[in-house]
Symmetry: C2
Subunit: 253 residues, 2 copies
């Protein structure tokens, strides 16, 4: 079997998220599978590295799928981009070793959150950022963000629908940058629970607005109660990058 890795960008605005739910549901996985199945003439399933929620975007989601046909990477890319809707774009197609698995082999994920922090609405970014009118105190948000770094039980920052065996995840870094009216929060970790980034960012926003103290984060983590965290809009969130351990050796094999 030939195993292909896809790198995908999408505007998640009109989709019910990444994961295919039923045949009629509007999902990104479903759209891509339909086009691939048309291409090879049989039903194709793709494995995504992570599931994004309804309305969440991706700058570089990755996925893989296996087919018996030996197709050129460039031809698959052209076919997909020709038949996919304009809000989904395949930026890379790479032939990978058969054992490569987009979910199991993903080691780290980076999410980017965009906040538009001016009094007036930004007409061009209104669907691609969360609008917070009141100026956020970034220094305090950075102080609060430090409490998330490291390994923690993130139950308090998850959705009740999370049914993972372990709620422990490791956050490697959180960077907050101001950039001409925007505040960009970049979170890198080894994995994320359902809604986890939006709850972390929502809580950082509450800190930035002065509604809670930066030092309240450890207490919220320890409480394991879901009603203390904030919740940021889906439209500001982007899955930015998936890391694979020793990606270069995957390519060489």
């Amino acid at each position: 079997m030939n195993n292909y890795k896809l790198t995908i960008q999408y505007d998640g605005g009109r989709y019910k998220g990444w994961q295919r739910l039923g045949n009629g549901e509007n999902t990104i996985q479903g759209k891509i599978e339909n086009v691939l199945s048309e291409m090879v003439g049989e039903k194709i399933e793709i494995i995504g590295s992570g599931r994004t929620d309804a309305g969440v975007h991706a700058l570089a989601q990755t996925a893989n799928f296996k087919i018996s046909d030996n197709l050129a990477e460039a031809d698959i890319k052209i076919y997909l981009n020709k038949y996919l809707p304009q809000d989904i774009s395949v930026t890379e197609v790479t032939l990978v070793p058969e054992r490569f698995h987009a979910r199991y082999n993903a080691t780290d994920k980076t999410y980017l959150y965009k906040i538009w922090n001016e009094a007036h609405i930004n007409p061009f970014m209104r669907k691609y950022s969360m609008h917070i009118e009141k100026k956020l105190d970034i220094t305090t948000m950075e102080k609060a963000a430090k409490h998330f770094i490291g390994e923690h039980d993130f139950t308090a920052f998850s959705n009740a629908k999370s049914k993972k065996k372990s709620m422990v995840r490791k956050i490697h870094s959180i960077d907050i940058e101001e950039n001409s009216g925007f505040i960009e929060i970049r979170v890198r970790g080894n994995g994320f629970l359902y809604n986890m980034v939006r709850k972390m960012v929502g809580t950082l926003i509450n800190v930035g607005l002065g509604e809670i103290q930066a030092d309240a984060i450890p207490d919220i983590l320890h409480s394991k109660e879901r009603n203390h965290a904030g919740f940021a809009d889906a439209c500001g969130l982007y899955l930015e990058k998936i890391d694979f351990r020793d990606w270069e050796t995957w390519r060489r094999n």
Copy 2:
């Protein structure tokens, strides 16, 4: 009478352009006039510095209107942004001398054109840039652009609907910049005919694609024939800035 100047940003995607056409038409001028008329309780007309076509955006369109009420600038801004649709945003309201006229006193205008010049679609900018898959030759485009600088009869780069007395306009500068997949073309001049920027940019694109020579521009200008120029999509065009002569003295008076 109190004369107020507005600075306005808009996503022109769903509008039939700036200029009010009838009462039922979906125009930016119409939307703003409706909200202002509601605010003061009488019919208000606003004067825009320039008319943007259907689908064209603005980063800083300006306009002025006169009312007998003496309202605080901040209150007008809050009211407008509260009741205008989310794709129109008022970024500044300034009380100006009664003789200030947004159209007559505008000396120069700057338009920005965004081209997305990668093979794949950009899902986030598909409504805010023109997608050209084939790599454009920027050096040749810059050479061609130089021919537009100065005072010329722009009949060949206008729409047949243009019914101006003079078709002569002066272009001060054209800058072309590459920026992470985008090519941005910035055109500054003392005035523009209907469709003129889109026809200039469309022709520069033809040059960049190697379809016509950079040195063909003077011939097209001299021909005064409208069928030689290219025509770029409305969605890539932004009215970026309006200059007023001695703006600081307007503010001081």
